[in-house]
Every structure is written in C-alpha cells, then in structure tokens.
C-alpha cells in the first residue's frame, strides 16, 4: 500500500490560498473551520516565503496518543482519520498537534467546542466509502474515487504535492536536482538576487 504524504515546496508557493478555498468548497467544511491554511513568513519583506499546511498524517500521531476517547485510526494508506461519533471535542489533539491541524466548530453546549474536524487527505471517515453520511460528516472521499486530494490537484504552481510518499519525494528530488545544489539555487533566491548564489555559480 502507498504511504500518503503532503509536501509543500516553499520555493513555489505563491500564497494564492486556492488550496484553502478548494478544500472548504469540496468538503463543505463548517464555519470557522479551515482544514488547510497558508502561512506566510516575513510577509512583504525580501525573502518572504509561504507554506501551505494541514494535517501531515503523522506515522506516530500525537493527536492519537492524547485522545481521551481513542477515536483516531490510521488507514492502510497511512492516512490519519478520526471517528466523529466518538469524538467529544475536548481539544487535546489541538494542543498536541505540531501543525495545528485539528479544528473545532462552535457547536457544543453553550458554544463550546464541537466535534473535531481536520484534513482527511480526502479519504472520508469510518463510514461506508462515498456514502452520503460520510460525505456529510467528513467531506468527499476522493481517495475511494481514485483521485488525490483536491488542494494539491488545484495548486496552480504545483507547490503542494500529495500522494504516495515515494512518488512525491521523487518529484521533489527531481526539482532539487534541476535547481542545483541546495534548495535555494533556483527559484526565489535567484529571482531576487540573494547574495551568495551568483558567486557560488561562477565558482562552480
């Protein structure tokens, strides 16, 4: 089985937020919840970079180890999913998650946290694949349809890659090779004349 992975190439991401919008639209994500977000580092300054981040589907997921009701499970594809019927909306997964992936709609008692919602790698939930109840709770199950996550499919610069870990890393490795030694040899660093690049090129 494939080991599903996301990879965001910071040399390509242009912070268009299409991945965020596509995800929200595809899965009819509740208000106040964003399964994916784009974070820009040093916005408006030279050296600005953007990275799209969502659940990274960890092998040893911290969310699953702190969950008081043990509602997380990992699929054969290495996708970390959770059961909303069991989830109590305690928020511990959000505290433990390195990537801030778990999100909570305000649907609990007195506007408290409702059941957790997060990126499913477009793989739905524990319900029957492509059933209407799965769609309502977890969004579309594109993996069952033989498709890859929509955020990556939509990405205009192909900064965001999603799929089998070995294929994703092959693509990224090829990119790095074309760029030359070091991840910054080609891309923003060259476009904005980052000092140190030209000298090294003329030298080697």
């Amino acid at each position: 089985m494939a080991r599903m992975k996301f990879l965001c190439d910071a040399e390509r991401c242009i912070e268009c937020n299409a991945c965020v919008t596509a995800c929200k639209n595809e899965h009819e994500v509740p208000w106040g919840v964003n399964r994916r977000r784009v974070v820009t580092i040093n916005d408006g300054e030279p050296g600005e970079r953007s990275i799209s981040v969502a659940c990274m589907h960890c092998s040893d997921a911290p969310c699953a180890t702190v969950c008081p009701v043990d509602c997380f499970y990992t699929t054969d594809d290495g996708v970390v999913l959770h059961d909303k019927d069991i989830c109590i909306g305690c928020g511990y997964c959000f505290y433990a998650c390195p990537f801030g992936a778990p999100q909570f709609p305000d649907t609990g008692a007195f506007g408290s946290r409702g059941k957790m919602d997060k990126c499913t790698f477009c793989a739905g939930g524990p319900e029957e694949d492509m059933s209407s109840i799965e769609n309502r709770k977890y969004g579309r199950n594109r993996l069952a349809e033989g498709k890859l996550p929509l955020c990556a499919e939509m990405c205009s610069t192909k900064a965001l890659l999603a799929g089998d870990g070995s294929k994703v890393s092959d693509i990224f490795r090829e990119r790095v090779t074309y760029r030359g030694a070091g991840a910054m040899q080609w891309g923003w660093g060259v476009a904005y004349d980052k000092p140190g690049i030209k000298s090294s090129r003329s030298g080697g």
Binding site: R37, I51, V66, A181
Partner: protein
C-alpha cells in the same frame, strides 16, 4: 607447531603495519595538520540558504534576528488569512512537551499516588483500626454544624465527587473503561463527563467562597494546634491532644481545600473559557501561544486535582471509618457529648459554658 604459530602471528603483524602505513599515506589528514582542512576541501556550494527559512518555520529564537541583528517578534513575522487560535504558528513544539508530560508523567504518577494513598489507608485500617468509639452515648447531643454549613458542605462535596469522577473518566477512561465497554459506549460516557465537568465546574469556585465565609472564623491558628500536630493528633497512641472546635488536622484540611480550590478553579475556568486563555496570553507573552496557556493550565489542573482527590480520600476516611461519631455532625448536625469531650475538649467546655449561661 609453536614455530608455525609464531610465524603466522608475525606475518599478520607485518600485514597490519603495512595497512596502517598505507592508510597514513593515503589520507593526508591523519596527522595533526587538521588546520589545513578548509583550504584543501572546497565546499560543494553555498551553505543551505534555506536554513533561515526552516528555522523561522520552527520559530526558533535564533532565526528571528534580521540582517541588522535586531530580533523580531516571531509571532508577527508569520501571517495567514485564516482566522483561528495560533493559526500563524507553523510548528507547535510545546505540544510534544505537554503530551509527554500528560501521558508519561501525570497519568502514571497520579494513578500511583492515588493507589498509594488508598493502600496506606487500608493498611492503617488493618493495623490500627478505628480509634476508641465514643459514639455510644447517653443520647445527649451537641449542635456542631448549622443547616447552612451542612448544605454548603454537601453541595461542595457532591460537586467534588461529580467533578472528580468525570475528570478521572476523561483522564483514565481510555485505559480503564474502553476495554470494558468499547469505543462507542465510552464515547457517550466521555462526552457526558466532559459536558458535566464543564457545566458544573464553574459552581466550584462559588461553593468555595461560601465554605470559606462559613467556616473561616474557627479555622485560624490557636494555641494548642502545634501540640496537636506534634502529638500526631493522638492517632499513634497516647492521649487525645487538646483541640478547639476544629483540631489542627481539620484546619490544615480547610486551608488546603481553599488553596488547592483556588488553583483548580483558576486553571479550570481558563480551560473552560478560552477567552480567558487569550487574556492570559496577552498579559504574559512568554507563553507565546494560546495552546501553551491551555497546556500549562491543563497540567496544573490535573496535578492539583489528583492531590486534592488524595486529600479528600483522607478526609472521608478519617471522618467515617477512623473516628466514629464524627459523621453525624455533618448529617444530623449533632454530635454526642462524649465524642465532643474527647475529640474537641476545648470546644466542649465552651459549649457547656454557653449552655450553662443560657
């Protein structure tokens, strides 16, 4: 035979020396001239220029100084269009600390502490048993707790038991209950526990204020309290140390209840109302993230709760099993005269004087 062994050894030794020499010749830096290394080995390219970026992604403090050496606010140099708690944080490193504290420190140690205290109480009961029974009496009784004191006590006690049980379900239910009832049923139990804990929790500080106002006047230090403590309350033989309305042990219980209650109330309210956590974050920016406030509050809340539970284990044990005749003071409000005379002799004298006057 011996000669052959020696020749074999010597030939091996020669080989080793040869190999050693070869290695010395082949590697130019085997000696002490390591200073030549930089000039001989040319770097393949520039150092990884992405290092600044990835340090910024992890929000390490060394990545925040700009070209002028001025440190920048790590929180503000990351922006996102998404609104939400800590949305601009890319890697939350505090989560790992909290997770390992909760799973590997708080949970096993809290469990061991509670089991240890229960075991201690069991051993005390087996080897010491109840203290002398003063409950069989002439039937003459003294009023010990007013109706308001009893109502406040039992409301607080009921709340404590409810909060304690629901809290322990949330902490240990996954290991203790899921194997018994299954994931689905436990999901319902845990959801109910969470809601009950969250909804009834804010009543706890309210009752704490009530019990403080109701009982504080007899809980200040008096002469004789130190003697009571030194004598170990008379639990380990010897005569009953002299005590007023409350003995020193009960006073310690009162002040610990107030102290632990305040800590547990503040941390609990912050956990219950995240807007308070945001206020804490604004007041104390060293927390850096909303999540770190919640994690710190959760850790303190859990530790204090389990210490509190152990304290109340002791309170229940002493008031029911160890000292018979005590419980009626909190149920009917009245205690036997001989109980009062032996356990709270100074209070007994005061009451007698009062009755004599009236």
């Amino acid at each position: 035979m011996k000669k052959r062994t020696i020749s074999a050894l010597s030939s091996r030794l020669a080989l080793l020396v040869c190999v050693g020499l070869l290695m010395t010749v082949a590697t130019p830096f085997s000696g002490a001239d390591e200073a030549q290394l930089p000039s001989l080995v040319k770097p393949l390219g520039p150092a990884n220029l992405g290092v600044d970026l990835w340090a910024a992604v992890r929000a390490r403090s060394d990545a925040t100084s700009d070209q002028h050496g001025l440190s920048r606010d790590t929180k503000r140099n990351k922006t996102t269009q998404v609104r939400g708690y800590d949305a601009n944080v890319l890697v939350n490193q505090a989560g790992e600390t909290w997770m390992s504290f909760r799973n590997h420190q708080m949970m096993p140690k809290g469990r061991d502490l509670m089991i240890f205290v229960l075991l201690l109480m069991f051993l005390f009961y087996v080897f010491r048993g109840s203290v002398d029974d003063d409950s069989d009496d002439s039937g003459v009784e003294l009023q010990r707790f007013s109706i308001s004191a009893r109502m406040i006590h039992w409301f607080l006690a009921g709340l404590f038991i409810l909060l304690g049980i629901t809290g322990l379900i949330l902490l240990y239910g996954r290991t203790a209950l899921i194997p018994l009832v299954g994931h689905e049923a436990f999901g319902v139990i845990a959801w109910l526990s969470k809601e009950l804990h969250n909804v009834s929790g804010p009543l706890f500080p309210m009752m704490l204020i009530f019990i403080f106002l109701n009982m504080v006047r007899d809980n200040f230090y008096e002469r004789g309290d130190l003697t009571w403590i030194v004598k170990g309350g008379g639990f380990f033989g010897g005569t009953h140390p002299s005590a007023g309305r409350y003995n020193a042990g009960e006073k310690i219980l009162f002040w610990l209840t107030i102290l632990l209650g305040i800590v547990i109330s503040i941390t609990g309210l912050v956990l219950n109302f995240p807007v308070l956590a945001v206020m804490v974050l604004e007041r104390y920016p060293e927390f850096e993230q909303y999540r770190q406030v919640m994690e710190a509050m959760h850790a303190v809340h859990g530790v204090v709760a389990m210490v509190f539970i152990c304290l109340i284990f002791g309170h229940i044990f002493l008031a029911t099993v160890v000292v018979p005749g005590t419980l009626s003071g909190m149920t009917s409000g009245k205690v036997g005269v001989s109980w009062a005379r032996s356990h709270h002799n100074r209070w007994y004298t005061q009451m007698m004087e009062k009755q004599g006057k009236g």
